[in-house]
């Protein structure tokens, strides 16, 4: 099987190479009108088929690695170091991306899969797709070179093959780890597609904004995958690492956030290009940067350039990535300089108070946030270069610098949707802003009355701002829904809920976007709760209890257990609220025999108000009693609820609009009346 896998990877490299060169020659011939022995159309078609073939070849290689994991083939060095006989099936599958070589193979496979879909759907626009396919083949070659020569996943063990493997990193032996990395990679890799279309469109001086329409779904789906990947990672960290938090501003976490921020900026600013023909160069560079940041993210994760708690981050392949990054940026810059006259805007901004300028500021703040994260991530390296010593740039830095930027962004989330395209009149501002501003002030006053004292610390101030701004955004977004639905309801007699559904179906993109904004607010509400986290640690013997907030935890027993994969120590704790027992929690600590490492399994009782988060911190060496650490983390559940709302909103935005005629036949509303009102403030 290892030989089969290695051969499949070499074949994939050859096919991708053919795809790139034949595709490039065909496109050159089409551009110049030159003719060779084979017509450019036929040559391009062979290139497309080679691209499809490379997908099957990489699939075979990925299958071979998974097969090796499932059959305990420890002659493969990668399997020896990332699996063992007792490892449960799903984690053997997860071994595919738990180490460097495997995760690069996953990158290559996902890229090939995206390329496969793109090449199958090539009839949307044959020529543009040919450009995109050729560019994707170039990216594919880089990753195939890596897995063939720099980090081969099928390298064999020298000498005697051990009977058992060293096992999978215990931190990765958690159900979310089977989903989180592929999701994140689907996000990272997915941005290659809009990048390829953008670069292709620029190379061929593609007229109009059609390339954006073609790539819109790709971009949104990719963005959704990345969003899910980031939050699954946060949930994994919360459930496994046992420190009571979900985001530690680790360089590897930051690496995933940066392309998400620029991708979000791109999703907003393309609307200006679609509707007003503006910001063409800006959008081009946004998608270039997003792709470059995806590569930089992989570089940071894989090269060990920056210190990270992620143990897999040490390797010499950084040079390859730097070289690739330089080539990518050089190609982008060269193409941009050559074709920049093609990107002239058709319109200019007419007012500082308009939907366009809100998008502009939204982009600015998102990029500032991205720059802050990048700056914080790379500053230790810069410091070492300039001062000769490394510094740590951790949570205190980001809390002070990045959170205010995030709050500014939250403010724009509320302001943007209620501004009109082109220019907003003072009358309109007064009409649309009074309610949200009142909502902001009322919420702030109520919160202060309830005991949130902004003068008692930075955390409380930020929380107050986040919740008050959240109320403002919800009011702004809610009033947009109600205003449109009210018109439909008046004309059809439908109830308000049915009217909201119909309104949303008529302009899924606009109202789906609002649902996403609503989800973002809910996430912010949850994040702001962290300022009020409480924790305490106590030795807890049999029948002894400890208090945390409204809860009392009573130790019922503590014991040990063992299975083929790990030994475990755990405590059984009855949780009471008043006199009523509400649940039993069993936090544990595992010792994995194969890797000789420990891992925490947190017990969590989650409600909408707070999480009772319990960690088994180990035994006191002197008394032999278990040490229990308890956290009371307010509002954490809202973060995960917010993510679900974001996912739903994105799905709504991806759904095609109900046609006007169909809507009219269903509702008897004069077609366009409700949207007409909305159109006075723009279509999105």
């Amino acid at each position: 099987m290892p030989a089969f896998g290695s051969f499949a990877l070499l074949l994939a490299l050859a096919l991708s190479g053919y795809n790139l060169f034949a595709g490039a020659i065909a496109l050159r011939q089409l551009a110049t009108g030159a003719r060779g022995h084979v017509s450019p159309e036929r040559l391009a078609e062979t290139a497309r088929r080679a691209g499809i073939g490379s997908f099957f070849a990489v699939t075979c290689a990925a299958f071979a690695l998974v097969w090796a994991a499932f059959t305990n083939d420890f002659s493969v060095s990668y399997i020896l170091h990332h699996s063992n006989r007792a490892l449960p099936g799903p984690y053997k599958f997860a071994a595919l991306w738990s180490g460097q070589e495997g995760s690069l193979l996953l990158w290559a496979w996902l890229l090939a899969a995206y390329g496969f879909v793109l090449r199958i759907r090539h009839k949307v626009d044959v020529k543009l797709t040919a450009y995109a396919s050729t560019i994707l083949a170039g990216i594919q070659i880089f990753f195939l070179l890596l897995v063939n020569f720099a980090a081969p996943p099928f390298a064999l063990v020298a000498g005697t093959v051990p009977q058992d493997g060293f096992g999978l990193n215990p931190l990765l032996q958690y159900p979310e780890m089977v989903i989180h990395p592929p999701m994140l990679y689907l996000g990272y890799v997915g941005f290659s597609v809009p990048f390829a279309f953008a670069l292709g469109a620029l190379m061929m001086r593609y007229p109009g904004e059609k390339w954006i329409h073609i790539t819109r779904r790709w971009t949104m789906v990719t963005w959704l995958f990345l969003t899910c990947g980031i939050f699954l990672g946060a949930h994994w960290a919360y459930s496994v690492l046992g420190w009571g938090g979900y985001w530690g501003w680790d360089p590897v976490e930051n690496a995933s956030l940066m392309p998400w921020l620029t991708g979000t900026a791109f999703l907003h600013s393309v609307m200006m290009q679609e509707k007003r023909g503006m910001m063409k160069s800006w959008n081009m560079w946004l998608i270039f940067s997003t792709f470059a940041l995806s590569i930089l993210g992989t570089l940071l994760t894989r090269s060990g350039l920056v210190s990270s708690v992620h143990a897999f981050a040490e390797s010499p392949i950084g040079t390859w990535f730097w070289a690739f990054l330089v080539i990518v940026l050089a190609v982008c810059l060269f193409t941009f300089i050559l074709q920049r006259d093609h990107l002239k805007s058709e319109h200019k901004l007419e007012s500082l108070v308009s939907r366009e300028s809100s998008f502009l500021f939204n982009n600015l703040v998102l990029l500032a946030a991205c720059f802050t994260v990048l700056w914080g991530t790379l500053f230790p390296v810069i410091s070492e270069y300039v001062q000769g010593n490394k510094v740590t740039v951790g949570a205190p830095f980001y809390n002070r610098v990045a959170i205010p930027i995030g709050l500014f962004l939250l403010l724009l989330t509320g302001i943007g949707p209620i501004l009109a395209w082109r220019s907003t009149s003072f009358k309109s501002i007064r009409k649309n802003f009074i309610l949200p501003v009142v909502s902001f002030l009322v919420t702030a006053v109520v919160l202060i009355a309830c005991g949130v004292r902004p003068w008692q610390g930075q955390g409380a101030l930020y929380s107050l701002m986040a919740w008050s701004l959240g109320a403002m955004v919800v009011t702004a977004v809610g009033s947009e829904f109600l205003r449109g639905a009210g018109v439909i309801s008046r004309h059809t007699g439908q109830n308000l809920f049915a009217s909201i559904v119909q309104l949303t179906r008529r302009n899924t993109r606009r109202y789906g976007g609002y649902i996403v904004h609503f989800g973002v607010v809910v996430i912010f509400i949850g994040l702001a709760g962290s300022a009020f986290n409480q924790s305490q640690e106590q030795e807890l013997s049999f029948k002894q209890s400890m208090r945390m907030g409204p809860y009392r935890l009573e130790c019922q027993s503590y014991s040990q257990d063992t299975n083929a994969n790990y030994d475990t120590e755990f405590a059984l704790l009855d949780v009471y609220r008043g006199d009523k027992k509400i649940t039993q929690l069993a936090p544990e600590k595992r010792f994995y025999q194969a890797s000789q490492t420990t891992s925490t399994i947190v017990a969590n009782h989650s409600t909408l108000a707070w999480d009772l988060y319990v960690v088994y911190a180990g035994k006191d060496p002197d008394s032999g009693q278990p040490i229990i650490k308890v956290f009371l983390n307010p509002l954490v559940a809202w973060i995960w609820i917010g993510v679900i709302i974001v996912i739903l909103g994105t799905f709504v935005a991806l759904t095609p609009n109900m046609t006007a005629a169909f809507a009219a036949s269903r509702s008897r509303v004069p077609v366009g009346e409700a949207p007409a009102m909305a159109m006075s403030k723009g279509g999105d």
Partner: protein, 154 residues
């Protein structure tokens, strides 16, 4: 205009007060300083959040922090003492000294320059815009304009 200026001055003072106020309670300071330092065992975790079973360093560091607080030392003094003992990486974020100032000030400056640049750009674009003809007095013009906007989606 003068009123607006005065209001913004008051607002600035309030903001400064809010940002600089903090509780001097020892437990709060312990928690606060514990979050400003790293565990030196190499786990990459914030000192007070380090949860390694049998961590060789976090208990010792936390004990040193408690001792320093009980001796009545100031926050900066404690942070500097830790930095000189364990090296600059013991601080979870760089102190405001020499080159490290750049870590703190570059991002806000970039954002500020971006905002100023954007405003300047919009104003430049606005000045260049060809003046729009006055609104027509034709009967039903508003309805037609709304129809056009609806159909062209602008």
């Amino acid at each position: 205009m003068r009123k607006l200026f005065r209001f913004s001055q008051v607002g600035l003072v309030v903001l400064l007060v809010v940002f600089t106020m903090g509780s001097a309670d020892t437990a709060v300071r312990y928690n606060d300083l514990g979050h400003k330092m790293m565990c030196v065992c190499g786990c990459g975790q914030i000192l007070i959040e380090c949860n390694h079973l049998g961590c060789p360093d976090s208990d010792r560091e936390l004990a040193e922090l408690r001792t320093a607080l009980s001796q009545g030392k100031g926050d900066t003094e404690i942070l500097e003492a830790f930095q000189s003992k364990y090296g600059p990486t013991v601080l979870a974020a760089p102190m405001l000294t020499k080159f490290n100032l750049a870590a703190w000030f570059v991002p806000p400056v970039v954002l500020l320059l971006g905002i100023v640049g954007t405003i300047a750009l919009v104003r430049k674009w606005k000045l260049r815009t060809v003046p729009m003809p006055a609104a027509s007095q034709v009967h039903g013009f508003d309805r037609i304009r709304d129809q056009i906007r609806k159909e062209t989606e602008i």
